[in-house]
Each structure stands twice: as C-alpha cells, then as structure tokens.
Symmetry: C2
Subunit: 189 residues, 2 copies
C-alpha cells in the first residue's frame, strides 16, 4: 500500500484550510480523512482525537496571527501602530475565517499556556507605550482593545452589521479614531 505521508503538521494545515473553506465547525476527522483519501482510523496515529485536532488548528491560527501582527506593528507607534494592529486582526479574519474562528476555541490551561496568547497581549501592551498610561490602567486598556477588536470582527463576520446602512469600512475607521482619542484622553480613576 502506498503511503500518503501523513504527519500531524500536514493534518493540522489541511484542517486549517478546510476550516477556511467550509467553516471551523465542519472540520471533522472524517472530512480530513476524505481529503487525504485515507481511512479515518489512520488519522488517530497523528492526532489524539477530534478535540486535539481542533486545538492544534487553534494554536496554528494564534501563532500565525501573532506573526502577522508583529510584522504589521513593527516600526510603528501611536495611532499608526493601533491601526496596524487592528487591521492585522481584521484582515486575517477576512482572509482566514475558519482559522480565525478556531482562535476563539476555549483552550484548556495547558493549551493556553503553549499558545501565542501571551505574545498577543504583549504586542497590544507595546502599542500602549505610545499613549502613556499608568500601570493599572494599561491592563484595562489591553483588555478593552482586545474586546473591541474581537467583538467588532465577530459581529462583522457574523453579519451583525450587514442589515444597517453605513458600510462597515467607515465604521471600522471611526472605531480606530475613537480608540485613539480614548487612549490619548484616558479617564482617570
């Protein structure tokens, strides 16, 4: 029997591509086996189970996204950096909806520790250096930025904005303006 050459990495990558095509929910061990024209049980030598596969796709997405963000933010500061950060997230979600959905998977403590999660929060924190916030507020601001970007992207991609008038691109730009203004005049406790 000719070997196809399965590895965990190839499975995860194929799973990520499948997620972008048909949605993260539809990524199943069976669907992946079908793609490689291989029996389902064969995949269980490479991933522990269905959950393991999904977790690995999520970790891939988080790492890819962290790389893109790092690249986008490099050499920028202030509002420029803020916009680069937001746009990197938004563009990734648009180009890789399945992978982005994967990054929202609830990770257990172990997977979370091994994830690029910390890189993400540290990059956001780096951007705040341009805004001069006292320490306790920095963490609040990191969380606020995360909330806005994540929430905006979720709603936009979920069609939450698609039934009302002004186009979303303008709202996105005004959102970046608003965040910049807010960070420059952050209200004191």
């Amino acid at each position: 029997m000719a070997r196809v050459g399965l590895t965990t990495e190839r499975l995860v990558l194929a799973g990520a591509e499948l997620a972008d095509e048909v949605g993260f929910e539809q990524v199943t061990v069976s669907a992946l086996a079908r793609q490689f024209d291989v029996k389902v049980a064969s995949l269980y030598s490479h991933v522990k189970n269905s959950q393991d596969l999904k977790t690995r796709i999520a970790l891939l997405g988080l790492a890819e996204l962290a790389d893109l963000v790092a690249d986008a933010v490099a050499g920028r500061s202030g509002k420029d950096a803020l916009a680069a950060l937001g746009n990197a997230y938004r563009d990734y979600a648009r180009e890789h909806p399945g992978r982005y959905a994967a990054t929202q998977l609830r990770l257990d403590a172990e997977a979370a520790a091994a994830s690029a999660g910390r890189r993400h929060s540290q990059m956001t924190r780096a951007i705040l250096r341009g805004y001069d916030l006292p320490e306790p507020d920095q963490t609040h601001a990191v969380r606020l930025l995360g909330s806005v970007f994540h929430g905006y992207i979720s709603l936009e991609m979920g069609g939450g904005f698609s039934h009302s008038a002004p186009d979303t691109q303008e709202t996105w730009e005004r959102t970046l303006d608003a965040l910049d203004a807010l960070l420059r005049k952050w209200p004191a406790s």
Copy 2:
C-alpha cells in the same frame, strides 16, 4: 403509551437549560430526547432538524436578553443607562452561558429578520440620545458599543482574561467609564 407532552416550546426551553448546564455545543437532539426519556425520532415532529433546534434556542436567548435589557434601561439615561445596558448583557451571559453562546450562532437571513436583533440595536441607539451624537456617528457608536460588550463578554467567559493580574470586575467598571468618556467627547470626523 403515556404521552410526555412534547411541544416545540418545551423542547426549546429544555434545550436552553441544557445549554446552560453543559454548553451550547453539547445540545443535541439525542441529548434532549434522553432528558425527556423519549425516543430520538419523536423530537422530529417538533423541530425540523438539529440546526432548527439550535436556531430556536438562539432566538429564545435573543428575545430574553432584549427583554432584560429593556427592563434594565427603562427610566435611566446617560452613563446610568450605559452601565445598565452593559451589565444586563454581562449578567445574562454569566447566568445563562449556554443561552448567551446560542445568541452568537450565525443566523440565516430569515431567522435574523425574525430575531430580536433589531430591538437590541434600537435600545443601544436609544441610550445614545443622552450623548448627542450626529446621525452618521450614531450608527458607528451603536456598532462600537455592540463590539465592546460582545467582545468583552466573549473574552471574559472564554477565559481570555483569567491569566493576568487585576480582577475583571475592575476592568469592566473602567471599561464603562471609558465608553462614557468616549461618547461624551466623541471625536469629530
């Protein structure tokens, strides 16, 4: 054979309760049949299929949440109203995590039209009356508030904040402060 008295409403309600207990992902036609001690096929007289069941749970959640928000916001204005709105969302998500997760289900056009989605955006818009924003910006602000609340709740419930220091309650309060400040000094185009 004694009849259990299944109806679509009872199934949807039981599905919502099950979602709160074990997670929206785990709500399945089979699990529900088990709860009613009834054969799986029996449920298919009341719901079209698994997707239909989930959609109905989502619509229930959206409607319940709209009622709670309407109640919370009534008679308030300004920051008071803003906080009531945000707290209503956050409290609902904490008390009914499965239902809240259901509200994030991507709805098709038909279900979206029949949903309480419009009530939600209109209540947010009503709050903005206390902040005196020109029209195009009102829509942007509605979307921003939706993004922040939704994003914050998703991240908080997904454990996204749980690995860093200051507790989330304080961040939440500072987030409401920040949004209030932002709306009062909304940057001009």
